[in-house]
Amino acid sequence: MNKLQKVEQMVIEQALALRGNTEIPEFGPGDTVTVSLRVIEGDKERTQNFTGVVIARRGSGPNQTFRVRKISNGVGVERVFPLYSPFIQSITVERRGHVRRAKLFYLRGMSERKIRRKLHQD
C-alpha cells in the first residue's frame, strides 16, 4: 500500500468514526436502500430518510459517492450521497436488485412498474 492509499484509508476511518462507526453494507446498482441522514435546521437536528434505487456508484478513496433515485408523488427525485459523509447515519439495504449494468441511467425514462419488473425478475 503506498503512502497516498494509506492517507486515504486514514481519512475514511476518521470520517467513519465521526458518524459513530456504523457499518456500510455491501450494496450496488439496482439495490433498494434507505439512507438515514442527519439534517441540521438552525440549531435543531433531526433524521431524514431517503429510500430509493441505487442507480450509480462512482469515485475512489474517500471521494466515493452513490446516486439514489426514487419517485416521489409522481416526480422522479435523485440524490447523490458521499459514501463516507459524517451526515449519513446509516445505510440499509431494503431489497437486492438483479441488473447487468453498473450505471442504471436508463431507469429514468421508465415507469415505477417497469422499474420493478426490470430489477426484480424472480
Partner: protein, 205 residues
C-alpha cells in the same frame, strides 16, 4: 518560523470534522537535518541549508561529500537554503513543527507544459468565430500592437512560448493534518509540481 523540504505524494479528498469535503495534497516532508547556517554577522543574512532524502555516500561526489562530512550529516539527495530561519547545524527538522490550522507557503517547480499557445498560456480568448470563414484563427493571439507608431512591439507582450517548469509558490495554504510517524503533511488545496517533485514548505507567521 518553520520550514521543511519534502516530496509531493499526490492529491485526494479530505473530510473535515464538520463533515465538509475539501481538496487535499499529501506531502512527505522531512526529516531535514540542517547542514549549514548562515548568520547576519558572517553572511549578511539569516538562513539555514536543509537536506532531504538520505542517499549512500558512494552516490555523492567528492566536493559534496566533504560538505556533508563537515557538518556531520549523512549525504542527502537534495540541499536547499531557506531564508529567515534559525537552527543549529546538525539539528533535525521534522513535520512536528507544523500543526493543523497553520498557514504555509509551498514552492516547487511547476509541471512543464512545453511550447504552448497564447490561449492556454495567457488565457487569451482567441480571435473570431469558428465559422463564417474564419476558423483558421480561433486560437490566434490577435493584434500585438499599433502600426507606424511605435513601429515596434513593446517588451513584455504576452505571446506563445514555454509554459510551466518554473518555480512557483502558493501561499496561505492551510495545514489539515500532520502525521509524524509517517512524516506526512496534509495541506488544503493544490501545490505546484508533479507527484514526486521536490517541494519547499515554509510556515507563514
Amino acid at each position: 518560523m518553520a520550514a521543511l523540504l519534502g516530496r509531493k505524494v499526490g492529491m485526494t479528498a479530505y473530510i473535515t470534522d464538520s463533515g465538509e469535503y475539501v481538496p487535499c495534497t499529501v506531502i512527505e516532508a522531512g526529516p531535514c537535518p540542517v547542514v549549514l547556517r548562515r548568520t547576519l554577522e558572517r553572511d549578511g543574512y539569516e538562513a539555514v541549508q536543509l537536506a532531504f532524502d538520505p542517499i549512500p555516500e558512494r552516490k555523492v561526489n567528492r566536493p559534496l561529500r566533504g560538505h556533508f562530512a563537515k557538518s556531520g550529516v549523512q549525504p542527502h539527495r537534495y540541499l536547499r537554503e531557506i531564508r529567515g530561519i534559525a537552527a543549529d547545524v546538525g539539528q533535525v527538522l521534522t513535520v512536528e513543527q507544523f500543526a493543523p490550522g497553520d498557514r504555509v507557503k509551498v514552492s516547487a517547480t511547476s509541471i512543464g507544459r512545453g511550447f504552448q499557445g497564447v490561449v492556454k498560456r495567457h488565457h487569451f480568448g482567441g480571435v473570431g468565430m469558428a465559422t463564417h470563414g474564419q476558423s483558421d484563427r480561433t486560437r490566434a493571439p490577435g493584434s500585438i500592437g499599433a502600426s507606424s507608431f511605435p513601429s515596434r512591439v513593446f517588451p513584455g507582450m504576452r505571446m506563445a512560448g514555454r509554459m510551466g517548469g518554473r518555480r512557483t509558490t502558493i501561499r496561505n495554504l492551510e495545514v489539515l493534518q500532520v502525521l509524524p510517524e509517517e512524516n506526512l503533511l496534509l495541506v488544503k488545496g493544490s501545490i505546484p509540481g508533479a507527484p514526486n517533485a521536490l517541494v519547499e514548505i515554509v510556515k507563514l507567521s
